[in-house]
Symmetry: C2
Subunit: 474 residues, 2 copies
């Protein structure tokens, strides 16, 4: 394919992408395929001879789309959102064309420099303490990782290096292996599985701190475990606080935890993968109070800030590191900061704030629908865009409800476990109508979306009702 | 930005991308900017209000392009190639629109399944042993990683788990920490820095095996170190063989090393990040002989197989792992296999082979230019697309030559150290004329490129000559 054909095919693809996203709600949100469906639809080997683009293009609808879970459908309420915006897609096209591998400044100065400045933009939007900013001669700074999993691992490894160095300064005779064998890291019992995995990868002992009835780690809970562990000769060195847990969007109490970590010389990393984006709104910024005690902070603009995956931002307080290649696992890196630059400029801070607020508003609206129905209960505080709810009654009842909801294929939800209870998670995910709303605040996009929400609830209601009938007669 | 505006802006961007790549050789390959250049060109904070797309678009040329190292310029001969093709860019647009996060089968069945089948396509193209293929009930399979760094780390961690399990089966009393403290992993002294970093991340002892005069690890060299280490109570468990080293594209002798690793129960991982793509040509496939002894194999289609970054393929012999999320560091993943699918179908195996052969041919041509000039010497066997060369004489002389070459900004090269000598690396990188050549084999694209090569050599020649004069009179 030469440049001339790319001009033609690229424009067709732009239209295909626009069509896909404009009409996504007509597609079934969750696919009907069975595991292994795809292999039989395509040849077993790559073709010897080149095929025509028409043949490849045709196969998007024949082979791919039947097996896609449509994350950007307005009927998708599963997991947490993943971002998808037109400005980010335009930036990604440019990123692909430049196709540089920014593993050092010289490998592409613009790639390294825009990333540094964009992480400062992000830090300022979140009102991070000065220490987290690079500036022209700052003591901190940030870098884009692929995912929060990588960010947690990097923070854990940085903390491991720091504590080993610190201990060896006082005890030059103690080997690194010996010190590492005594280390212990902590996180909430609600923390994402990737935190535990980071410990496994780094070969480090990791313990979970029990949470209170709001699913939040409190200072006294950490203090208790620290004392027990110190008494047995272990060396606490790392605490991963979560702001906005995956199951219920709960917040660890970092204003209590931070001073303890600082006093005990424990690296405090804050994982705000989902919730972090909301901190750009003044009314949600207090949720980040205590950040001044943290050593590193991570959140995913690719979740809720309209920057397409992958774009996970980590900021550090003080870095002794010089080159970006010491800040991450992979050596090579794409020019991902272009996405942040395009999105932030095309939406503006106000547009991004409006987007967050709209999602939170929709969650609150769904919450009130649930509360208005006596058969349901809300399972955790609704703080941002996630509503955890269930039918009053057994786990079995709720498992059946979820199965019916997902089998009906009209909307898509995933569950969680909260204090032993099977709970349904309703996460506001789709941007589909959001961009229009941001751009044309006078339209009735919000109203449209709200009425969609009633449909969703109605759908759950019908499934629930038919189930309860079945249940009572069985 | 709504879908209607995206249709317009997307098509403009397609044209911008096509223009950029069609005219890339008119841009200076390496930028003139000084560190910190970008910060002063843009505001210190994200804008409050949304900006117009025109303003953002204008800034691509004002802010970004002056700081770009143009990896796809035909004057770029630095590092190793990174792929950039039109079919891959089209697939990436589709990937962005679908925007799924494939962390499990249910999260997007098509994403998981196409990746599995594409890794089988790759494996078959390379004629990997059956054990590396997933098939419908295979014992192996592959997964896409971001970079070879991640692949090496994953292989090392898999090997670490395996040896710990194996030892604990015989000695249930030995703790994991104790076992890990005795483990030792190996690689070539020519191995990429990421191999050493993988050891640091995993908290594992790592040693470098000395290479022979071809910069290749031989069986006896490994055997010697193994015996020494076993004698001191260490437990060898992992060897990372490199096929196509970064400095000189040397090949470890895996036909000698493999049987040793198998006999000693050492996990052999093969890192063929750059060279792996060439193994799709029957004439280069013998370089992979010995693969039958390996436990895992990695190469980067994003280097030399026309699939844009990031796309690093790792294949395993036997996997006890069920979900893709256990095969990698990050949990989330983009729909990267679309790029492989588009590229392999649009080029066909023959087109991809022609592309590899053309690059190797160009390297051979450059080699003969160097050999024809008595002042130069070739520093390592030219096997694929990399030529290591230098002026006969001191390191200082060659450092000055490289500085002059890069300061002249006409072409871009990077150096390496080989056996204490400062050496210039000439890597054939650009696809710029390749795609045309593949698509229209009757054109004179090759001739064009060859004449460009003479220009490059002429450029080096002139710089070298003026230097030698200066040198002899000083």
């Amino acid at each position: 394919m030469d440049a001339a054909e790319f001009r033609r095919r690229g424009k067709e693809m732009v239209d295909y992408v626009a069509d896909y996203l404009e009409n996504i709600e007509k597609r079934q949100v969750y696919p009907d395929v069975e595991p292994g469906y795809l292999r039989s639809l395509i040849p077993e080997e790559a073709p010897e001879e080149a095929e025509s683009y028409e043949d490849v293009f045709k196969d998007i609808e024949r082979v791919i789309m039947p097996g896609v879970t449509h994350w950007h459908s307005p009927y998708f309420y599963a997991y947490f959102p993943t971002a998808n915006s037109f400005p980010a897609m335009l930036a990604d096209m440019l990123c692909g064309a430049i196709g540089c591998i920014g593993f050092s400044w010289a490998a592409s100065p613009a790639c390294t420099e825009l990333e540094t400045v964009m992480l400062d933009w992000l830090g300022k939007m979140l009102k991070l303490p000065e220490d987290f900013l690079a500036g022209t001669e700052g003591r901190g700074g940030g870098v884009i990782q692929g995912t929060a999993s990588e960010a947690t691992l990097i923070a854990l490894l940085a903390a491991r290096s720091k504590i080993v160095k610190l201990i060896q300064a006082d005890h030059p005779d103690r080997s690194e292996t010996h010190i590492i064998s005594k280390l212990v890291a902590y996180s909430s019992d609600q923390a994402h599985s990737s935190v535990e995995r980071a410990g496994l990868i780094g070969g480090l002992r990791m313990k979970k701190i029990p949470t209170d009835n709001k699913f939040s780690v409190r200072g006294d809970a950490l203090q208790k475990v620290l004392e027990e562990d110190r008494a047995t000769g272990l060396i606490p060195f790392f605490f991963c606080a979560t702001l906005g847990t995956t199951p219920s969007c709960a917040f660890d109490c970092v204003t209590e935890l931070g001073p303890i970590c600082n006093a005990e010389k424990i690296w405090m990393h804050i994982d705000a993968a989902y919730a972090g984006s909301a901190f750009i709104c003044p009314e949600f910024r207090p949720l980040l109070n205590g950040i001044e005690f943290a050593d590193s902070f991570n959140f995913n603009p690719h979740k809720w800030l309209l920057v397409n995956f992958d774009c996970s931002a980590i900021s550090y307080v003080i870095s002794h590191l010089i080159s970006l290649q010491h800040w991450q696992i992979p050596l090579g890196r794409r020019f991902r900061s272009l996405k942040i630059w395009f999105v932030f400029r095309m939406y503006g801070l106000k547009g991004l704030q409006a987007y967050i607020r709209k999602h939170v508003g929709l969650a609150k609206e769904f919450e009130s629908l649930v509360r208005a129905d006596q058969r349901f209960e809300i399972s955790a505080d609704v703080v941002l865009g996630l509503v955890c709810f269930r039918l009053k009654g057994s786990n079995e009842l709720n498992e059946t409800l979820l199965k019916r909801i997902n089998n009906a294929r009209k909307i898509h939800l995933v569950p969680c476990q909260l204090a032993g209870k099977f709970v349904l998670r309703f996460a506001v995910c789709a941007r589909t109508t959001e961009s229009r709303h941001v751009q044309e605040p006078e339209t009735d996009a919000l109203t449209c979306h709200a009425s969609k929400l009633f449909n969703v609830f109605n759908h759950i209601f019908i499934l629930c009702f038919s189930h309860l009938n079945t249940h009572s007669t069985s």
